[in-house]
């Protein structure tokens, strides 16, 4: 578990770059440390765990139920505003408060959001879908029922593809798919604040009636990492579409995980539900913990019990009598005499879908020849930014990268290193967005041009970047001149320095001549020191090697 914890303790973006061990649990480090317990995802993605006897593997099964709050101005069935953090009960209409005599009126924008999402996830869009009432009692559900689409939802049978690294280095990414059973429109409930001290619950209905898309996924995943990766990709897709801002911390994306384990060849085990997950890191952690807990419990001869399943029963449903079926059209079935505002055309929406993240990533790889994992990181980091700020879909890292590439002769493959390693670490260190970067794409391109023309070394370039970061308004060239970072162009002078270093390091020279090539780096370092970083390390290496072989 320690490895899993270490993995998820890093930032969201860090999960991809600094994976140490995929789903591996070290013996003795878990919550129930007991003997050898290695849990690892095998190449096919199935997770195997050696039980006490080491003979019977367990296969974990993970399914997700996701509620995404629709990004709209007003609620699903009423005209009150959708807004996070407002004075209690200020965004509540009579319908939301379930006062008698009020009726639901469907918000067109919410339907469009659901259709967009369904199309982006390769779903079949049901041209006719129905609304139902799901009855249950809770203080934050004033009507005593929730309007949902249990029987015939708006979209069914889709899929979500996501990427994972299959080894410890970020070098090999594999694509996995999880099936989407259905997407349905439903109402959100209000919020309950439990005041145990005074034995009461305070209810705020601001959230009651906000539109949600419930996405039900088939149990195609096998561990916390896969669940986290799928949710990340979904989040990115929703943000790209604009159908939901999908910020987990603000409750715009809620994930419940269903977890069970079984032996190969046997039927699925009893599943438990993991709820109240408020971040992607915690999702991975919680799922893995639950898998481990179930394996322990079953391994000790216990059983898995499920107390929340009562909610899931087929009882308590009835059709929503106040809403006729929702009819959607496409280009072929478009009615002739209807008011445009009353018609939703699936094909029209499909034509206007933005480029999905997977398409964007591919385009970057194709256009610039960068590696898929770099393309991935570019977009993932942008996603983190979107989560932390209220402004989604700002021009960000991918655009910055493209702007630099346009303005420099350096190959994109090399530029990407500067973006992901240097620029990104500065931004993170100072908690800045790309827009707030003191180093513009123009400045960075300028600096990289100096490097490309071999006027400075890469070490010097890093120094210049550090200076530019201070934002004092100097150009790269000015900084280079000020700090005397220009590369020594005089070959003779360089040769002399190399010779001096060789003469001064007899032991190292002997070691190199004896075959220890690594010591050469030390000599190169010494030359760099003598030249105050103004020598081209490649050239220095050549010169030293030449001299040493004489």
């Amino acid at each position: 578990m320690a490895a899993v914890l270490a993995m998820v303790a890093r930032g969201c973006g860090g999960v991809w770059r600094r994976l140490r061990q995929r789903c591996a649990v070290r013996p003795g480090s878990g919550p129930f440390p007991r003997g050898e317990r290695a849990v690892a995802c095998n190449a096919r993605g199935g997770m195997m765990s050696a039980g006490k006897s080491g003979l019977t593997p367990w296969i974990p099964v993970v399914g997700l139920e996701i509620h995404a709050q629709i990004s709209s101005n007003s609620k699903l069935f009423s005209g009150s505003q959708v807004q996070f953090a407002a004075p209690p009960n200020s965004l509540v209409s009579f319908f939301d408060a379930s006062l008698p005599g009020t009726l639901p009126v469907l918000n067109r924008r919410c339907v469009e959001a659901a259709v967009m999402t369904g199309l982006a996830l390769n779903c079949h869009i049901n041209k006719k879908s129905l609304f139902d009432r799901k009855h249950y009692f809770y203080a934050d559900l004033p009507a005593g029922y929730q309007i949902t689409q249990q029987r015939v939802p708006i979209a069914v049978n889709g899929s979500l593809s996501y990427s994972l690294c299959i080894d410890n280095k970020m070098s090999q990414m594999v694509t996995k798919t999880v099936r989407i059973k259905q997407i349905q429109l439903e109402q959100d409930s209000g919020k309950s604040l439990h005041d145990d001290a005074r034995s009461q619950t305070l209810v705020d209905l601001n959230r009651a009636g906000v539109g949600l898309m419930e996405l039900v996924m088939e149990p195609d995943m096998c561990c916390g990492e896969e669940a986290a990766a799928a949710v990340r990709e979904l989040q990115l897709i929703l943000q790209t579409l604009g159908s939901s801002q999908a910020v987990m911390a603000e409750g715009q994306l809620r994930v419940d995980a269903n977890v069970s384990v079984h032996h190969p060849g046997e039927p699925y085990g009893v599943r438990t539900e993991v709820k109240n997950i408020n971040s992607i890191r915690f999702l991975a952690k919680a799922v893995d913990y639950e898998i481990q807990r179930q394996i322990e419990e079953l391994g000790n001869g216990g059983t898995i019990s499920n107390e929340t399943r009562a909610f899931d029963s087929k009882l308590g449903f009835m059709p929503e009598p106040n809403l006729p079926p929702l009819i959607l059209y496409d280009a072929k079935s478009l009615p002739a005499n209807m008011n445009h505002q009353q018609v939703i055309n699936i094909d029209w929406i499909r034509e206007r879908l933005p480029d999905l993240p997977s398409v964007k990533r591919e385009k970057l790889v194709e256009q610039y020849g960068i590696l898929p994992e770099h393309s991935f990181t570019l977009l993932v980091w942008q996603q983190d930014q979107n989560c932390n700020s209220r402004h989604s879909n700002e021009d960000g890292l991918p655009e910055f990268f493209e702007n630099v590439v346009k303005q420099t002769q350096m190959k994109p493959k090399k530029v990407i290193g500067w973006i992901l390693n240097d620029l990104l670490s500065y931004l993170k260190q100072h908690s800045l967005t790309v827009k707030e970067s003191p180093v513009s794409s123009f400045l960075l391109a300028d600096l990289l041009n100096l490097l490309e023309k071999k006027e400075i070394s890469s070490t010097a370039a890093k120094q210049v970047l550090a200076e530019l970061w201070k934002g004092k308004g100097k150009t790269p060239l000015e900084t280079v001149k000020e700090q005397k970072l220009e590369l020594l162009q005089d070959q003779k002078e360089l040769e002399q320095i190399c010779q001096a270093v060789i003469d001064g390091q007899e032991n190292e020279v002997m070691a190199i001549k004896a075959g220890n090539q690594k010591v050469l780096n030390k000599l190169i370092g010494l030359v760099q020191k003598k030249t105050q970083g103004r020598s081209n390390p490649v050239l220095v290496k050549q010169l030293l090697e030449k001299k040493l072989s004489e």
Partner: protein, 159 residues
């Protein structure tokens, strides 16, 4: 109008007068029915065995509807209510699509996404007997139903 899906569940194990295939329904039943003794067609209360409703289903119903079938009379009344509703099965609905609502041929009106309501906190709170700083006040969570010891005895037909 379709009755609450309760009806089908409570008729534990009974065989409907017609084949299920002849009644197309939009319901997605998982197919698992609560266990119960097989039942005969309703021909009068004398022929119907006392327990049609299993304990699990009853408890579940109580939880869901917050109704307390406190005594055998309550349970009996429930069973009678189900029998009464079962009369609907005497109608032949072969090849007829279930109707959800008399509005089914109407157009579902789509509203523009504009903010037109809200900001009536004071009015809303006036309806509440108790409020705390603009919050409604409710009892703490769902109070768990007390399972009376005697209840199980009634259901086992010990009366």
């Amino acid at each position: 109008m379709r009755v609450l899906s309760l009806g089908r569940w409570l008729r534990a194990g009974r065989v409907p007068p017609r084949e299920p295939a002849s009644r197309p329904s939009g319901h997605r039943h998982s197919g698992h029915r609560p266990q119960g003794p097989p039942q005969e067609l309703p021909q009068g209360p004398s022929q119907v065995p006392p327990q049609k409703v299993s304990v699990e289903v009853l408890e579940h119903l109580e939880h869901l509807a917050l109704v307390d079938f406190r005594d055998s009379e309550g349970v009996e009344r429930l069973q009678k209510a189900i029998q009464f509703a079962d009369q609907l099965h005497e109608v032949n609905t072969d090849g007829v699509e279930p109707m959800d609502s008399v509005l089914e041929d109407r157009c579902l009106y789509l509203r523009e996404d504009d903010v037109t309501e809200g900001n009536c906190t004071k009015e809303l709170l006036e309806n509440a007997r108790e409020t705390v700083e603009e919050y409604f006040v409710a009892p703490p969570g769902n109070i768990p139903l007390v399972k009376l010891e005697g209840q199980k005895t009634f259901l086992q037909g010990s009366k």
